[in-house]
């Protein structure tokens, strides 16, 4: 049994040499790990070179622009939500329309004045109005004030918001009493 085992071992070694030695005699090919090392080195200058610097600058510019847009909208309306900015403009347009008599033209200038308000410290009348009151009234007053103080002199005379009192005061004259 031991002899058989020994014979098998001898046969096994001889067969393995016969099978594998021809492959082992060939010279080793170019090592792949060297190519990988060089490729890695080539990548590093790309990450640290001018393209990377340009990319960082572009990303910074985008971030600054986006921040400026959000900050302006938030400062004017008091909210970072763009939907609120839209509501603010719609309210201003409605106010400008209602500030004039029915059928009277010329509320475009009023809207332009409201749209031009970009001062960060400008009050946000719609948001600041106390709950339960008419939020549009202060903005109408602010619009009227802006129109009165317009420097180009092209603005039309502004009528104040009609109130029940003013209506009552006009009524007697219209009746022919004045």
């Amino acid at each position: 049994m031991a002899r058989e085992e020994g014979n098998f071992d001898v046969w096994l070694s001889a067969e393995l040499r016969r099978e594998l030695s021809p492959h082992s005699l060939r010279p080793a090919p170019a090592p792949r790990f060297l190519f990988q090392r060089r490729r890695r080195r080539r990548r590093l200058p790309l990450l640290a070179g001018p393209p990377a610097a340009l990319g960082v600058k572009a990303a910074t510019g985008l971030c600054v622009t986006a921040f400026a847009v959000v900050a302006t909208g938030a400062a004017v309306t008091g909210s970072p939500n763009p939907a609120v900015w839209g509501a603010h403009v719609r309210t201003a347009v409605a106010d400008c329309k209602s500030a004039l008599d029915r059928g009277q033209r010329g509320w475009g200038d009023c809207v332009s004045t409201v749209a031009g308000q970009v001062q960060p410290d400008a009050p946000a009348p719609v948001i600041e109005a106390p709950a339960g009151t008419n939020a549009q009234a202060p903005s109408v007053q602010a619009t009227a004030d802006l129109k009165k103080s317009a420097p180009n002199g092209k603005t039309r005379p502004v009528r104040s918001v009609p109130t029940p009192d003013s209506e009552n005061q006009r009524e007697p004259g219209r009746d022919g009493s004045g």
């Binding site: 098998f8 071992d9 393995l16 594998l20 492959h23 082992s24 090592p31 792949r32 790990f33 990988q36």
Partner: protein
């Protein structure tokens, strides 16, 4: 059995062989020296395990890439060539697993259809022993090649296979017994 020297190559201490300068972990020049000294031996082991020269070459290169990445952490008390064999055998085991999954997928795809006939060129290339080794588990086939082709000691085989040294003899006996069965009771 030849004792293991510091470079980890049993062959370097064979009678008449020059004593090699010890390797230094992390040194690129030393790793290139290790590559030149041990590539063909690692390739021989992988051909014995995989039975396919092209796959063995691919595995050997991948193993050297992994070894190069781990080279700064190599400890000089570990035999360098056995350490390389350990990495190479892990790569070979992973490859075999992927191949078996692919074969299983192909089997499912061609269910009900006859299997394609074996390539006669490949069949002629594989001897009876190569075919039997290929049917052994990768680590058993590696143990056979490391002992009977490279002349590794139990300690080197234990390191290469990642098993305790005292279990090497029983693993080798089991591998040989299975190989004899596969070879038809030779």
């Amino acid at each position: 059995m030849y004792p293991l020297n510091q470079t980890g190559s049993a062959g370097a201490l064979r009678p008449g062989a020059a004593i090699a300068r010890p390797y230094q972990a992390g040194s690129s020049q030393d790793f290139e020296r290790l590559y030149r000294a041990s590539y063909s031996r690692v390739l021989g082991t992988l051909i014995g395990v995989l039975g396919d020269r092209a796959a063995a070459e691919d595995c050997a290169q991948e193993a050297f890439v992994k070894a190069y990445q781990a080279w700064p952490h190599w400890r000089p008390d570990a035999p360098a060539e056995a350490w390389l064999h350990r990495i190479a055998l892990n790569v070979a085991v992973s490859l075999q697993r992927r191949q078996r999954l692919r074969e299983a997928g192909e089997l499912v795809r061609r269910l009900g259809r006859p299997a394609p006939p074996p390539d006669p060129a490949l069949a002629a290339e594989h001897s009876e022993l190569a075919a039997a080794l290929r049917r052994l588990p990768a680590k058993q086939a590696a143990a056979i090649v490391l002992r009977h082709y490279h002349g590794y000691s139990n300690r080197e085989i234990a390191y290469a296979l990642g098993i305790p040294e005292r279990t090497v003899a029983s693993r080798l006996a089991a591998a040989k017994a299975r190989l004899r069965v596969l070879l038809g009771g030779r």
